[in-house]
């Protein structure tokens, strides 16, 4: 019983601390927007070009599916800061010195994660009510049909998301940006798990159960139905198939048990995480992709020097300081760009450079279409963790006051940081640019330039506005997967999927980049207290 009390206390404090932050308001606004988009028919389930009538079962399931899909992806990034907050606020050091067990701590944090995600689900469940009321295609409200999908599909999926977010925080090698990028692929895999494994029980998000049930009803009710299922964003109204009726999921005892099994898995995940959790012991923390996040042991010579620095009498008159010449105060802007570039690249492993160099050589050697297609795409996901630090470094490491009290921060430091990020994109994708230049592909080069500026601008804007790197990591990875990797025209900012529209897309991305840079400068100016 005492453990339950401790778990409750941990969860309560964490939840209260979260909901009293400005960022929680933004989270709720995201939920309201998602609810609005789904309720007004922008996000929709479509089978064979049709949808079912808006009954309680259809609306409840559709909204629950939208919630499960979007919130399990985005929600991960929203709640993946429970342990980090205790690290940053140093409350973790206090907790570590108490008899609190790792399991109780992690379970309390999972519960808090879950409550935050559940509050988003509540907003979307209310939107489902509103949708049925305003759509008025079926005025009979069936509370169970409307709410059971939220309760039995979405909430267990949220529990899994909450637990995975915490597990990623507890495992040192998944704590940082690598984990944020990995989650997107893991989430995609989780959605497709029953399809890939052919084991229908392995359906943590409930996506497969719903699609199979709806597709069975569509086969019976939609003439010429070929077995497609889309959860999609639409711009035009979708027709209702007259003979298509779907009465909702059949919640048999087995189906219920399967959903409960995922709740049990969600409880088991932090218990596994407890085995690896460092309990705020910095000596046990290990960086993964950022090589030098934990300093190396000093060499004998360094140790002796450090010893001297600490042991020798030091109260004598200070050493000489040469007065700074006035021209030395106005150094070239290039020095600052070089310093920002060095700062961005510091801490990367040798193998990071090796892979980047390999991709660069491959771009030069491969056929042109491969070079500007998959190879450029690969080259522009590789530095994601370098770009994601842009605009967030000052907040993350607490150097804001040191940096912001320097002159011309907006016109020098922020501009230099942005240029450094663009240089990273330009250098990693240089092979494709050279190939296009040789082949005389001007439109391609234009797109490539737009891509370079777009990446740097997106990283800067998301970093400066959010103060954290994970939103860029999540958003950029998703955009990269849909655009450059799967070559969806319009979303492929590398321009390789543009065809004859390549130049037009390039202009669009130049414009977006300009808007993003303006947004970043505006925000930073506000942070500097200058607007």
């Amino acid at each position: 019983m005492r453990s339950l009390g401790v778990i409750y206390a941990i969860a309560r404090a964490d939840f209260l601390e979260r909901v009293r932050r400005y960022s929680y308001l933004v989270t709720l606004l995201f939920a309201v927007y998602l609810g609005y988009a789904a309720a007004t028919g922008r996000v929709m389930i479509r089978l064979g070009g049709y949808r079912g009538p808006y009954t309680s079962a259809w609306i409840g399931t559709m909204m629950a599916l939208v919630t499960t899909t979007f919130v399990s992806l985005v929600g991960f990034y929203i709640v993946k800061n429970a342990i980090d907050r205790d690290r940053q606020t140093r409350v973790g050091d206090i907790l570590a010195a108490t008899p609190l067990t790792k399991a109780s701590y992690l379970l309390g944090k999972v519960l808090s994660n879950f409550l935050v995600l559940a509050s988003i689900v509540v907003v979307l469940a209310l939107a489902a009510f509103a949708m049925q009321f305003f759509a008025a295609e079926d005025r009979t409200f069936h509370a169970w049909s409307l709410l059971s999908p939220f309760l039995l599909l979405t909430l267990p999926a949220m529990a899994i998301t909450a637990a995975m977010a915490l597990l990623f925080e507890a495992l040192p090698f998944l704590r940082g940006g690598f984990g944020n990028v990995l989650w997107f692929f893991l989430w995609s895999f989780g959605i497709a798990l029953p399809e890939v494994t052919k084991v229908r029980q392995l359906d943590p998000f409930g996506f497969w159960s719903v699609t199979q049930s709806m597709m069975a009803a569509a086969r019976a009710g939609i003439p010429g139905y070929k077995g497609d299922f889309e959860l999609t964003i639409v711009n035009q109204p979708v027709k209702v198939a007259p003979g298509f009726h779907w009465n909702g999921l059949d919640w048999t005892a087995t189906a219920l048990l399967l959903r409960l099994m995922w709740v049990a898995v969600a409880i088991a995940i932090p218990l596994c995480g407890a085995l690896f959790f460092d309990r705020f012991d910095p000596a046990r923390s290990r960086g993964f992709l950022r090589a030098k996040s934990q300093p190396k042991e000093p060499t004998a010579e360094e140790g002796a020097a450090q010893g001297r620095a600490q042991m020798l009498p030091r109260t004598a008159a200070p050493a000489h300081l040469t007065p700074l010449a006035s021209q030395a105060r106005h150094s070239s802007f290039i020095f600052l760009v070089a310093a920002e570039l060095r700062l961005a690249l510091t801490g990367s492993h040798w193998w990071w450079y090796a892979v980047a160099a390999g991709l660069l050589i491959a771009q030069l050697a491969a056929p042109l279409e491969v070079s500007r297609g998959p190879l450029l795409a690969a080259a522009w996901i590789w530095p994601v963790l370098i770009w994601s630090a842009l605009g967030t470094r000052e907040a993350r490491f607490g150097t804001s006051q040191l940096i912001f009290s320097c002159p011309r921060i907006l016109t020098r430091q922020l501009r230099a940081a942005w240029i450094a990020a663009a240089l990273v994109a330009a250098l990693t994708g240089l092979g494709a640019a050279i190939r296009m230049a040789i082949a005389g592909q001007r439109a391609g080069l234009l797109s490539w330039s737009a891509g370079v500026l777009f990446i740097a601008s997106l990283a800067l804007a998301l970093g400066v506005w959010s103060g954290t790197s994970k939103f860029f990591e999540g958003f950029y990875t998703t955009l990269w997967y849909v655009g450059p990797l799967n070559r969806v025209p319009g979303l492929d900012f590398t321009g390789s999927a543009g065809g004859h529209l390549t130049s037009r897309y390039a202009v669009v991305y130049f414009s977006i980049a300009a808007a993003l840079v303006a947004a970043a400068f505006f925000r930073r100016a506000r942070q500097l207290g200058r607007t």
């Binding site: 950022r290 090589a291 030098k292 996040s293 934990q294 300093p295 190396k296 000093p298 360094e302 002796a304 020097a305 450090q306 001297r308 620095a309 009498p313 030091r314 109260t315 004598a316 008159a317 200070p318 050493a319 000489h320 300081l321 040469t322 007065p323 700074l324 010449a325 030395a328 105060r329 106005h330 150094s331 070239s332 020095f335 600052l336 070089a338 310093a339 920002e340 060095r342 700062l343 510091t346 801490g347 470094r393 490491f397 607490g398 150097t399 006051q401 040191l402 940096i403 912001f404 009290s405 320097c406 002159p407 011309r408 921060i409 020098r412 430091q413 500097l528 207290g529 200058r530």
Partner: protein, 298 residues
């Protein structure tokens, strides 16, 4: 070279008033800003360092409003915040070279300056080690070095000796004294001995207001003849504290030797002693609190 603070006020959300009509004028030398926790010292430091904006009033650097043109001050400003971070993957030298570039100093001048500063703060031997492995005191010394990178005309140091060992503290005091000749140094602290050692001028702040301002001698003169040493039994000490401002106590074999600030002898046998800056500071704060409670009562 002059820094002038005119009716500066700062109110945070929730109507928390950190500064109220603060006025001060300073020229070259070390101004020690003394005050209890929550007095508004750090808010004043942040405003003067152009990190935050005042709600009312203004601060003028050589006649120019620093809120309107912060870059004019930033170019000649050295600022050591009370709480700051470092980039753990960079070495001390790399971190300072980076900040030098941000401050507009680059190339050979920056490298030379960084080397001299690392020598100055006794970190030359560990200049190439990642900052992530530095102790709190060593990081503080990096902070001191970065504040001096641009040879500042205005040096603002907020609780600079926090985390330094006694030797480093003395060394830092010496450094401040040496630097103060040709610049304005604003030293904010609640450690009276730091101010006593280096300040050419002292400002006392409490409740966001300027309580007293003047040379150390002037502040000491206020309590001249008003500091007493009295020996009492341990049991009598609480009653003595109730009646008078007790600035220090020491247990001896003959009883408790209490240092009391009072207009007249607090007890028979009380001996007048030489006042310290700590006595003057505590007396000024007590007077301010009395005046405040009178204001509220009225």
């Amino acid at each position: 070279m002059q820094l002038q603070i005119e009716n500066l006020s700062k109110t945070y959300r929730g109507n928390v008033r950190a500064l109220r009509d603060f006025q001060l004028q300073m020229g070259p030398g070390v101004l020690g800003l003394l005050g209890p926790n929550g007095a508004g010292k750090s808010t004043l430091m942040r405003i003067l360092a152009t990190i935050t904006q005042p709600t009312a009033g203004r601060a003028l650097w050589n006649g120019a409003d620093i809120a309107r043109d912060p870059d004019a001050l930033r170019a000649v400003l050295g600022y050591l915040p009370q709480d700051f971070g470092v980039y753990p993957n960079l070495s001390a030298a790399e971190f300072l070279e980076y900040l030098a570039a941000v401050k507009g100093i680059g190339g050979a001048s920056a490298r030379k300056r960084v080397a001299e500063l690392l020598e100055l703060v006794n970190l030359a031997g560990v200049a190439r080690r990642p900052l992530g492995g530095f102790s709190g005191g060593m990081r503080q010394r990096v902070g001191i070095a970065q504040a001096l990178l641009n040879d500042p005309k205005l040096l603002i140091v907020d609780e600079p000796t926090a985390g330094l060992d006694p030797e480093e503290r003395v060394r830092f005091r010496n450094l401040l004294s040496e630097l103060s000749g040709e610049r304005i140094v604003l030293l904010s602290t609640h450690i009276v001995s730091d101010v006593e050692a280096v300040a050419t001028d002292i400002a006392l702040i409490a409740g966001g207001r300027l309580v007293a301002h003047g040379a150390p001698e002037a502040l000491l003169a206020r309590v001249n003849g008003k500091v007493w040493e009295v020996v009492v039994a341990s049991g009598e000490l609480p009653a003595l504290r109730q009646r008078h401002l007790v600035s220090n106590t020491a247990h001896r074999s003959d009883g408790v030797h209490a240092r009391v600030v009072a207009d007249t002898a607090p007890a028979p046998g009380a001996r007048a002693v030489e006042p310290s800056l700590e006595d003057a500071y505590l007396a000024a704060l007590a007077a301010h609190r009395d005046a405040d409670s009178t204001r509220i009562g009225a």
